[in-house]
Symmetry: C2
Subunit: 326 residues, 2 copies
């Protein structure tokens, strides 16, 4: 898996460098505090998958202009704003191995810098001069908020259904991935068919991405993941591996799982017991399979495009999303 | 003054009713929690001055379409989002005589519903199908955040200059008032001259509005204002009446004022002493005069328009902003 990551990184090296440059450039010349906080979270090892998807999809759709990198950062700024606010909402303490922004600068700064990044992405959005793009971004932003609010409302609930889970991740993650790809087709003046294809790719990739993210909370090592293991549960967030296993378990094991989940200060031993139960009742493998199905759908959506290096990278990215370890 | 308010209200009754309807309609059919929280703050006696300015300016600029009410609520949603986040940042407890949203639903809900209202206003903004409007809103949103961040950075500082104060209120208030008026000219396809005129009106009205708001913190009664008196000082916010008086005072009185300000749990007696000093050193009257100058500028900006009922209302609104008691 590490090889696949290195392989992709080598193929998109120039794009990533240009994205980093655009991320930096569009933060200046704002207030020092804003730049400092935004930099703390923006430049702490994010994968840049959203802007990268936009740049690659635009190329796939035949875009030849100079603005793809600039426009692509709309999605990273929006995502970063969400992280700043979510970390507050979740009461998180660590993100990507670093203390979260609000623990350094305080809640107020996190709220306001998050707001600023949304405003900044809207300003860049206005520069695209395409009303359709504003609509896509507006819808994605609105849906993201709804997803986060839904998630907050479900917090602590042990009766979350798979449908409700899917609704949350559709809103909070898939719509923005889809938006990044869709916007690329719009700036490329691509056909409706191509727009639909890259949208489908982004949407399914986003769903799989979030499922894998939720899986990693149970299967990864803290040092790799850069955040505390079991963090979702400690924040009262039920994700698919648990939802599925709770439903599949017999009364006795369900009771045991619920007891561990309800006690948010569960021990390492408790957590290991829980993981065993998630494996026993198939929650881990079910989530993996579902993610794999969406990755297949994502790849299939690109079948209308002729073979090219760009298409190859997007297919590799899909494989990487499914198999990443962090 | 009460007469002027009643007079204006009678003249804009139908407009206000239509604005209320649009505010309600565009919150549906969202999640119950979102609507509940948004309603708590949206429908708790706000003055609707921003959407009203847009509707009136649009009419003054000759707009005859049906969308002015819908588009006008962009500004009320944006403003309300700011209030939700600001109350958190300021640690406020009461707003318009009601407990603040975060004290009822918690900080997370306030953060996310604020985010949602920004997203919602962006979606309505996209419906205007005018890129110029998106630009104006994006810029206003960005500036508002910068204003709030500036204010936060200055918090607790006793050395704020008048220039820094003006910079804050320009960003946090005047730009949105200006934006509401400017957008009205754009949807009306008005001439550049008219756009500039209503922009100038909105901008100066916004500056005066904020100055009067800051004055009321020292001159109003809690029961009228709907929030705790002296709240700005308790939040560490220095505004013009204090800034001016601190500069004008002699060493001894300056010391006394600083002592009262630094102790954020000042007594009613301390606060009365402070107000006496603000009067003695002219901070109250200076702020009033400066606000009055901006109201004059606002009214003068409208001189290019022929007399009309709409123009008359806008002039009355300017007088009301200057002389309001809450």
């Amino acid at each position: 898996m590490k090889d696949l990551k290195q392989e992709i990184l080598a193929m998109v090296e120039d794009d990533l460098a240009a994205i980093e440059e655009a991320l930096e450039k569009n933060l200046n010349p704002y207030l020092d505090l804003v730049s400092e906080v935004a930099r703390h979270i923006l430049f702490s090892g994010g994968k840049r998958i959203r802007p990268l998807l936009m740049v690659l999809s635009a190329r796939l759709c035949g875009y030849e202009g100079d603005y793809d990198k600039t426009f692509s950062i709309i999605f990273e700024y929006l995502h970063t704003a969400t992280l700043l606010h979510d970390d507050l909402v979740d009461g998180a303490s660590v993100r990507r191995g670093k203390p979260v922004a609000h623990s350094i600068w305080g809640n107020s700064v996190s709220i306001l810098v998050g707001d600023f990044l949304v405003a900044r992405s809207l300003s860049i959005c206005a520069k695209t001069e395409r009303m359709k793009i504003v609509e896509v971004i507006a819808e994605a932003t609105e849906k993201m908020c709804q997803g986060e609010i839904r998630q907050l409302m479900h917090k602590g609930s042990l009766n979350l259904s798979e449908e409700e889970y899917m609704e949350v991740i559709r809103h909070k993650t898939a719509i923005l991935f889809q938006g990044a790809c869709r916007v690329s087709a719009i700036i490329a003046d691509a056909s409706k068919e191509k727009e639909k294809a890259v949208s489908g790719y982004g949407y399914n990739l986003g769903l799989a991405f979030q499922m894998v993210d939720d899986l990693l909370d149970y299967t990864s090592e803290t040092t790799v993941l850069g955040k505390e293991i079991g963090a979702d549960l400690k924040e009262g967030k039920l994700t698919l591996p648990v939802i599925y296993s709770l439903k599949a378990a017999g009364l006795k094991d369900r009771d045991l799982m619920e007891k561990i989940i309800k006690n948010r200060n569960f021990s390492v031993n408790d957590f290991e017991t829980l993981i065993e139960l998630l494996e026993k009742y198939g929650g881990i493998s079910y989530t993996q399979q579902l993610a794999a199905q969406h990755i297949e759908k994502a790849k299939k959506a690109l079948s209308i495009f002729r073979p090219s290096e760009t298409k190859e990278i997007l297919l590799k990215v899909a494989d990487y999303v499914l198999n990443r370890k962090a």
